[in-house]
């Protein structure tokens, strides 16, 4: 199971805002696919999958603030459950 999370990229970045989901729970996902778009204090950022599988639950909704380091969803390998 791969956790898709908001990475700490800047020195003073505490939160990001989830702008948009590009994949829904249950959607097939390939490595490199953009799962969601977030906005930090400096830029917007695509969060991509590193592995292939099926997307799990959305743990945040658009416009939610997400603390850095927090997981927003998971990519499940065949046979895995959330």
């Amino acid at each position: 199971m791969e956790e898709v999370f908001v990475p700490a990229l800047g020195m003073a970045m505490d939160n990001a805002v989830l702008l948009e989901w590009l994949k829904n729970p249950g959607d097939p996902v390939a490595a490199g696919d953009v799962i969601a778009v977030i906005e930090t204090d400096k830029t917007t950022l695509d969060l991509t999958a590193e592995t292939g599988g099926v997307l799990g639950k959305h743990r945040y909704q658009p416009n939610d603030e997400v603390p850095v380091g927090n997981t927003i969803s998971v990519v499940l390998a065949p046979g895995e459950v959330e």
Partner: protein, 324 residues
């Protein structure tokens, strides 16, 4: 770290690689205040140099210093805890990734000023020279620091006073997004250095034994009173300049070529297996023990306390002036 045999060189390179890749992930998770510079790919420079030094020789390093610090004999526990800015860290949680060090153990620190480690190490060499000690001081700098005035001022000083000094360029070929060849006049660091009148070498920084050999010879000359040596060790940084960088200044093919064909750990592993200095079983158990050591370092850092508020002003001055 005691470098007792060839296997110990490999083990230390594995410790550095696993430390860096683990700390990198923790940094992205927001666990490392201030972030960090990952040295994956550059292990042979650190281990090659340190394995040729005496324990009480001095180093001073750069903003990218985890590999130098671990190879100098500091434990993953105290370095990981420092990255987490915990009280148990080597700098008591004050320094974080860029300010690892301990004067008593011959580590005069990392720092955030490109080229500063060279000046600090040259000063330490001057001290060794004054006292007549049989030690050397090594200053590390990146390829970016090759074009900083301080580097050459320090080298000149070391030459004219015949200081026991070794300047090591940890040349990973990029200064943030700038390729070394694009900004280095003459494009031959050893040739440039030799103009200052000292033995100067461009070497393979991904060959741990080559780095060890050139450092050992430089140390011998220095301790014999013959003065400094310049070593430009060519290597490669696999990850971004700092963790979280999403740079597009080099191709994926270039990175893959270095990783797959020139990796210092792969090369030395293959060498030890081919000479019979290590068996596959040795390698497997080494990897398992390294993995456990780094896992334990993370647990140690996670469970360590923050610095206590009552210690806030500790270490701000030397104490010699009467303040606490």
């Amino acid at each position: 770290m005691a470098y007792t045999d060839l296997q110990s060189l490999l083990r230390e390179m594995l410790v550095i690689r696993e430390f860096e890749e683990t700390a990198d992930k923790l940094t992205l998770r927001g666990k490392v205040p201030g972030g960090m510079h990952n040295s994956s790919g550059q292990e042979a420079v650190a281990v090659g140099v340190m394995s040729a030094l005496a324990a009480d020789d001095v180093i001073a390093t750069t903003h990218r210093s985890h590999h130098h610090t671990l190879a100098k004999g500091f434990t993953p526990n105290e370095i990981m805890a420092e990255l987490f800015t915990k009280a148990t860290g080597v700098s008591k949680g004050r320094g974080a990734s860029m300010h690892l060090g301990d004067f008593k153990r011959g580590h005069f620190g990392g720092n955030g000023i490109v080229g500063a480690g060279v000046g600090i190490a040259m000063g330490a060499a001057m001290g060794i020279h004054q006292r007549g000690d049989k030690n050397v001081s090594v200053g590390f700098v990146g390829d970016g620091g090759l074009n900083t005035g301080r580097t050459w001022e320090s080298l000149n000083m070391a030459v004219i006073y015949k200081l026991p000094f070794i300047l090591v360029v940890d040349n990973n070929q990029y200064a943030v997004e700038t390729f070394v060849g694009r900004v280095t006049g003459g494009n031959d660091p050893a040739k440039r250095a030799s103009g200052f009148g000292l033995p100067s070498f461009n070497i393979d920084g991904n060959d741990v034994l080559e780095v060890q050999k050139y450092t050992a010879e430089a140390r011998e000359r220095a301790v014999a009173g013959e003065g400094p040596t310049f070593i430009n060790a060519l290597t490669y940084r696999y990850n971004g300049h700092n963790v979280g960088e999403r740079g597009q200044y080099r191709t994926q093919e270039e990175i893959a070529d270095w990783r797959e064909h020139k990796d210092p750990i792969d090369r030395f592993t293959a060498y030890l297996l081919s000479t019979g200095d290590m068996s596959q079983a040795d390698l497997d158990s080494m990897k398992a023990s390294v993995h456990a050591e780094i896992e334990a370092a993370v647990a140690f850092a996670e469970s360590s306390p923050e610095p206590d508020l009552s210690t806030l002003t500790d270490g701000v001055d030397s104490g010699l002036l009467g303040a606490k």
